[in-house]
């Protein structure tokens, strides 16, 4: 199939890529842009390892065509820390022992960001519900939930809410 020029705005930078239409956003990020923080985990919208934010909403890059998100704002894990400062969610994941093998971590952190953007003070139950689409096989989720609760606290207090 014919390649097309696709403009992607990723982490605030614009890229013009020559892509075939069946290219997924996951492939474009990893193979074309070298943004390997977004992971392939299942290819069936179940594990959440490929979660990125498109216009602030969590989506699964393995099952979204790159061409269909041209000109939208895409945020990957590489774009979350600003000016060398970790985002409060990243910091909380580190501090609370929420990271083990780390393969689910980028997706987990971005899902958490979408949650806290929509609901800055979630209950524990709301955190658990929101993260149900991000599988983790290492942690038992206990410290992940703690980290999100702690990040919420930090962000509400610090006013560093939002991007």
């Amino acid at each position: 199939m014919s390649k097309q020029i696709v403009r992607l705005s990723v982490n605030g930078s614009n890229h013009e890529l020559l892509l075939e239409p069946q290219m997924t956003l996951l492939q474009a990020l990893r193979d074309e842009l070298g943004l390997t923080g977004t992971k392939y985990g299942c290819g069936v919208c179940e594990c959440g390892a490929c979660t990125v934010l498109v216009d602030g909403k969590p989506v699964l890059a393995c099952s979204i065509l790159a061409i269909s998100v041209r000109d939208k704002d895409i945020l990957t894990i590489e774009g979350l820390a600003g000016n060398g400062n970790l985002h409060p969610i990243q910091q909380a994941f580190i501090d609370y022992g929420a990271i083990q093998c780390g393969f689910c971590t980028p997706g987990m952190i971005l899902s958490s960001k979408a949650l806290l953007d929509e609901n800055p003070r979630p209950s524990r139950q709301e955190v658990k519900e929101w993260l149900a689409g991000n599988l983790c096989r290492c942690t038992g989720y206990v410290k992940i939930i703690e980290a999100v609760m702690a990040a919420s606290e930090t962000m509400v207090k610090g006013g560093s809410h939002g991007k």
Binding site: Q22, V44, C45, P58, V59, S63, A114, L115, E129, A132
Partner: protein, 293 residues
């Protein structure tokens, strides 16, 4: 199993008319796509290999939920996440809200649309069961006409809908719930984020202790979502007591035609059809009466 998708052409029509013309031209070689959460994984797994994907994402006017003349109209681009947050659906179309809410993955809810979910025609669709009892119909357009398909006539068999080549679903229309009515949705799953082993939806209109109208639907226990008319008959015009509810449950069991697959077995599904119907009747009844009071 490949990790990459089979090649295809990708088109993004700007109007429903244009979309239907493309769909009519390509016939079975084309697939319409909204969220893609079902379509793209199946293309990757080589279960289907469309030559053309027709994305409807840029067709204006399909992304809203509105109430018009007492009817709820849900556009083909309304995502499950949007529907979940919708106050009107939450307050008045309870079974639908519950069906959407209990779908666990936020990412899937963000990407997937209600209409897209129906067009997949999985017998396990939670939304279909809820919309069955709420009496929904689908607005379908084609290059030369528009028609409404009652949702009960929409599903033919697993993976197959009543859509003809060139037809596109643009809206779901749900009539306003009757006064003194209430609805409920229940399902059984393996883990929280799972497709239903069995689901059941019930919508009742009550008069005091009696059931005036009843609509009962079951999912994942037949080739398509089904109504359970004998279960409905068991309570319609009856006082809702332990006995009548039990009779409805038993009728629902008899009406289910489940299979054994990786999620559950036929015996369990059959028994649970009745159980869930009984439980959902009780909840819907409470809600209907609550509204009355």
């Amino acid at each position: 199993m490949p990790r990459v998708l089979q090649p295809f052409e990708y088109l993004e029509p700007r109007s429903a008319a244009e979309a239907t013309r493309i769909l009519a031209d390509y016939g079975t070689r084309a697939k319409a796509m909204a969220g893609g959460v079902d379509l793209l994984p199946r293309i990757r797994q080589r279960k289907i290999c469309p030559e053309v994907i027709v994305s409807i994402q840029n067709i204006p006017g399909l992304d809203s939920i509105k109430e018009e003349r007492g009817q709820l109209r849900i556009g083909a681009l309304v995502t499950l996440h949007t529907a979940e947050l919708d106050r009107l659906i939450k307050e008045r179309y309870t079974a639908l809200h519950e069906a959407v809410h209990h779908l666990a993955s936020v990412q899937v809810k963000t990407m997937a649309t209600l209409v897209g979910n129906l067009c997949v025609a999985t017998p396990a669709s939670d939304m279909a069961a809820a919309l069955f009892v709420l009496g929904a119909s689908l607005v379908v357009v084609s290059p030369d006409k528009e028609r409404a398909i009652p949702i009960e006539q929409f599903f033919l068999k697993p993976g197959q809908t009543a859509l003809q080549p060139g037809e596109l679903v643009t809206e779901i229309v749900v009539p306003a719930p009757a006064p003194d009515s209430g609805s409920a949705f229940l399902k059984l799953v393996r883990t929280a984020a799972d497709i239903a082993k069995v689901n059941a939806a019930v919508c009742l209109t009550v008069d005091g202790d009696a059931c005036k109208e009843a609509r009962i639907a079951l999912g994942s226990v037949a080739p398509t979502t089904i109504r359970a008319p004998r279960a409905e008959a068991a309570i319609k015009g009856q006082k809702l007591t332990g006995d009548t509810i039990q009779a409805a449950a038993r009728a629902a069991e008899a009406e289910s035609r489940p299979i054994t697959d990786v999620r559950s077995n036929a015996d369990y599904r059959r028994e649970m059809s009745g159980l869930l119907v009984g439980r959902a009747i009780k909840i819907a009844f409470q809600r209907a009466r609550g509204q009355h009071e």
